[in-house]
């Protein structure tokens, strides 16, 4: 499985390839061909998403705006969740949109192989492109949401620090763990459809086990075992990376991440989320590529 494309994905910002060959024979380079297919699939998915709607593509901006309005009213004004900082609403919205990227990615991605079954059975192309296209689509939506968050950030007069530079790295980390999980689940979905229902429940469990809608300080303040174990929430790679994004983008002083919550002596604990990310990522690639030859027959 030494296909360079996946590594390409990891360094996604550096991609834009050299000029196309002048001849009208299709590019024989495998990487280029896969890239073309990927672009076409993502482009088509995006176009189809807002098919038949009156407002069309504007929804991709309008939808997060409206969602945020609801979240803001419910959580910030109504329930008055706060960790004490002024910028908490922005942090909240950033967390929600990051998790939405994960759910979007996994929900569409795990079904993507089966949904595009007819294509897989008629044309030969590497199957992982379909899953990557689904996650890319979610990534684009995430990007748009981030733009909206930035607008809110300016409105709340957030002080941006140098740490903003680290945010792309965190997003890449989040993407990798999501892609790994999606690949595993997409493989399982092709054989047992149950995985979709299992994941539906699981993602709720994970979400409430993460400090997204509530600040971590709420948990840490509790007495007894809950307070002590609250820190363990950050062992979850999703939680940790989202916290990292919030920390680096908005509030480095107050957002807890695994880096500042645990003492340096417990360095092995700090390595756990990254380790889990690497495991999920490579396991995903491995499981998927082993089964990829049989997808056309199983469906």
């Amino acid at each position: 499985m030494g296909d360079p494309l996946l590594f390409f994905v990891m360094i996604s910002s550096v991609k834009r390839a050299h000029a196309a060959a002048k001849a009208i024979k299709p590019s024989t380079s495998k990487i280029r061909r896969n890239w073309i297919i990927l672009k076409a699939l993502v482009h088509t998915d995006f176009k189809l998403r807002y098919q038949g709607s009156f407002l069309g593509v504007i929804w991709s901006v309008l939808e997060p705006l409206m969602m945020f309005a609801v979240m803001y009213v419910v959580f910030a004004k109504f329930l008055r969740m706060s960790d004490g900082t002024r910028t908490y609403p922005v942090v909240l919205l950033l967390g929600i949109s990051s998790w939405q990227f994960v759910t979007d990615s996994t929900n569409v991605g795990l079904r993507s192989i089966v949904d595009r079954g007819d294509m897989l059975r008629k044309v030969h192309f590497p199957n992982y492109i379909v899953v990557v296209a689904a996650t890319m689509g979610a990534l684009i939506t995430y990007g748009i949401n981030l733009g909206v968050v930035l607008i809110f950030a300016f409105a709340y007069r957030v002080d941006f620090t140098w740490r903003v530079v680290l945010v792309p790295l965190n997003i890449i980390e989040l993407y990798c763990v999501t892609l790994g999980l999606t690949l595993i689940m997409a493989t399982m979905y092709a054989y047992y459809r149950d995985i979709a229902h299992i994941w539906d429940v699981l993602q709720q469990v994970i979400m409430y086990g993460m400090p997204i809608v509530y600040p971590l300080s709420y948990v840490l303040r509790r007495r007894g075992i809950v307070g002590k174990l609250g820190k363990l929430e950050l062992l979850n790679p999703f939680a940790q990376f989202i916290q990292d994004i919030r920390h680096n983008l908005i509030a480095p002083a107050t957002q807890q991440t695994i880096w500042n919550l645990f003492p340096n002596s417990l360095w092995y604990v700090k390595a756990v989320p990254i380790l889990l990310m690497l495991i999920l990522f490579f396991l995903g690639i491995f499981v998927f590529s082993k089964n990829s030859k049989r997808f056309a027959e199983v469906m």
């Binding site: 009208i24 590019s27 073309i36 076409a40 088509t44 176009k47 897989l120 044309v123 030969h124 047992y192």
Partner: protein, 568 residues
């Protein structure tokens, strides 16, 4: 074996010297067909605990080996379920073989279905770009090809409409147009000629005839249309039950495919019409009174116009009355009875179970497919002039043969050797009838030479005798094989077995019967007939007479030659 045959005839096929673009070596493919599909974890666990395997293995491809050279137009034919589509998908790397390997040089574009990835919600333009992207063309490359695609499809005005608004013909045209412009090195098409209206068929036709001449492009076409195979293909292959049944000359492959279909039709009809009587199931046409009536071929089922079709009829009739065999020859394609022997022409002299042989010259006919139906008849109790039918050999018990000869036409039944229409006006200039001109002898050069040699009455008689004896010899050989087979069957029933492998198909064809796998392991050569059994078959009275006459004629010829030598 098949490869050797093709290799031997290498020079007769075009492009065989070109480099190979596709090689399949020993490809095997099995599918696990689920008997109880487990679509959920619960069902899977239940099945596992019950010990239900949940699937049975179906062997779809059993060792396919062949190669395709650059520039060839290669046809793959076969009945449904034989493994063609699976082979195509393996070639296109959609499925992977369980054993064996496939190697492709150059870009292979498969068209298992036209318009893969066509999304009805997108416009024609967007779909073209999407399809092009699926094939690996970037947007810039598509821009350059776009105009030629649209003009080939003749859909200039419709490209900005959604695909769901297109008629099916338009969709197919657009998909084919993209496929054509895809500029693959190897184009693989799966039965795409079957869809589309007439103008589309003509477009396909133009494209294929054009691409056939291009030595850079290779096309592999899977089709059921034998006319297409004969028109376009440079070489063809017949796949039967997962194995290559025949590869090489397209005409030979097309004929064999036709034969296969005829056989299959007959078997289906036979199975459908089987009757039940007295607790036994009689095939259609047979009954207690006539339990066995079967026509089988002795000659090859594919014969030329100079040959005679020799066939045998096996019957069993145990009643005391006179009985006759009436034989009708039915033209499968044109319909109707071509020739009928008559109800009371052949009277059988032996009752009980017996096999008799007949021969039928086919020189009068053009190319055609024929089936022989034999009926066993007894004089009618009411009126001695008429006969009643007791049994008829139809369905599986009938026998088919095909006439193919380069001198023949295909449309009408009678060839020009039977009769021609001659013009009686000066205003009509008769050019030629299917290659024969008035004044030309209506026989091949070979036959003409033979004719010249036998102008001498003695020589002619000798040739006739030899021919007749050869016929008898063929029939006798057939009888010997039948007897040996009968003996084999008896031996098997008694439990005697020897293992020397030969192809079961060969044996089956010789006998016209179905043997179980085990008996097929013994060769006919191993079966030795005793003196007694042999003596029953040799020396039929007619043959003895013919051989005597042949000896006399030979002596006369020798005497004559010596007399002439002395005269000189």
């Amino acid at each position: 074996m098949m490869e050797e045959k093709a290799e031997g005839a290498k020079e007769s096929f075009p492009f065989m010297d070109a480099p190979t673009v596709l090689t399949c070596k020993d490809v095997y493919k099995d599918f696990k067909l689920p008997t109880e599909q487990a679509t959920g974890l619960k069902q899977a666990v239940i099945n596992w605990t019950k010990g239900v395997r949940g699937y049975k293995t179906q062997h779809v491809l059993k060792g396919i080996t062949f190669s395709v050279h650059k520039g060839e137009f290669f046809g793959i034919v076969g009945r449904n379920g034989g493994g063609k589509s699976t082979l195509l998908k393996i070639i296109s790397q959609i499925y992977y073989p369980n054993k064996g390997s496939v190697s492709v040089k150059g870009r292979l574009v498969p068209f298992i279905e036209l318009g893969v990835g066509f999304n009805p919600e997108l416009t024609g333009r967007e779909n073209v770009y999407l399809n092009g992207a699926m094939l690996g063309f970037s947007k810039a490359e598509m821009n350059a090809m776009y105009d030629s695609i649209v003009s080939f499809a003749e859909l200039e005005d419709f490209m900005d409409q959604k695909l769901k608004n297109y008629s099916s013909g338009m969709q197919v045209r657009l998909a084919f147009s993209v496929a054509v412009k895809a500029q693959a090195d190897v184009l693989v098409l799966d039965e795409v000629l079957a869809v589309g209206d007439e103008s589309f068929q003509r477009k396909c036709d133009d494209y294929f005839t054009q691409i056939k001449k291009d030595p850079e492009k290779t096309v592999i076409l899977v089709t059921h249309d034998m006319n297409a195979v004969k028109r376009y293909c440079s070489r063809a292959m017949l796949i039967k039950e997962g194995k290559i049944a025949s590869i090489g000359d397209k005409n030979a492959v097309a004929e064999e495919y036709t034969l296969l279909n005829l056989e299959a039709d007959r078997q289906m009809a036979a199975a459908r019409n089987a009757k039940r009587e007295n607790g036994k199931v009689w095939p259609e046409g047979l009954s207690e009174r006539c339990p066995v009536l079967r026509t089988f071929a002795v000659s090859k089922p594919l014969i030329g116009s100079d040959e005679k079709f020799v066939f045998g009829v096996e019957y069993e009739f145990n009643e005391d009355s006179d009985f006759y065999l009436a034989i009708a020859i039915n033209d499968v394609r044109r319909g109707g009875i071509t020739y009928d022997s008559g109800a009371k022409t052949f009277r059988m002299t032996r009752h009980g179970r017996n096999t008799v042989y007949f021969s039928f010259p086919v020189n009068l006919f053009n190319n055609g497919e024929f089936t022989i139906y034999t009926s066993l008849r007894i004089p009618s109790v009411k009126d001695d002039g008429f006969t009643e039918m007791v049994g008829v050999a139809t369905g599986d018990n009938a026998c088919s043969f095909i006439v193919r000869d380069p001198r023949n036409a295909d449309y009408a039944l009678l060839s020009d050797r039977a009769t021609v229409i001659t013009a009686k006006s000066d205003d009509v200039e008769t050019l030629q009838w299917n290659g024969w001109r008035p004044g030309m002898p209506q026989v091949t050069a070979e036959a003409r030479r033979r004719e010249e040699r036998t102008r001498d009455p003695l020589e002619r008689r000798r040739a006739e005798l030899l021919e007749r004896i050869e016929e008898i010899e063929t029939i006798r050989q057939r009888i010997v094989n039948e007897t040996k087979l009968e003996k084999l069957r008896r031996q098997k029933a008694e439990g005697v077995e020897r293992v020397v492998p030969i192809a079961p198909g060969v044996l089956r064809r010789l006998a016209g019967v179905d043997l179980s796998g085990k008996v097929a392991q013994i060769t006919l050569d191993d079966v030795k007939l005793t003196e007694e059994e042999m003596s029953e078959m040799t020396g039929s009275t007619e043959e003895v007479r013919l051989i005597d006459e042949l000896n006399r004629v030979n002596d006369e010829i020798v005497a004559k030659a010596e007399a002439e030598k002395e005269k000189k």
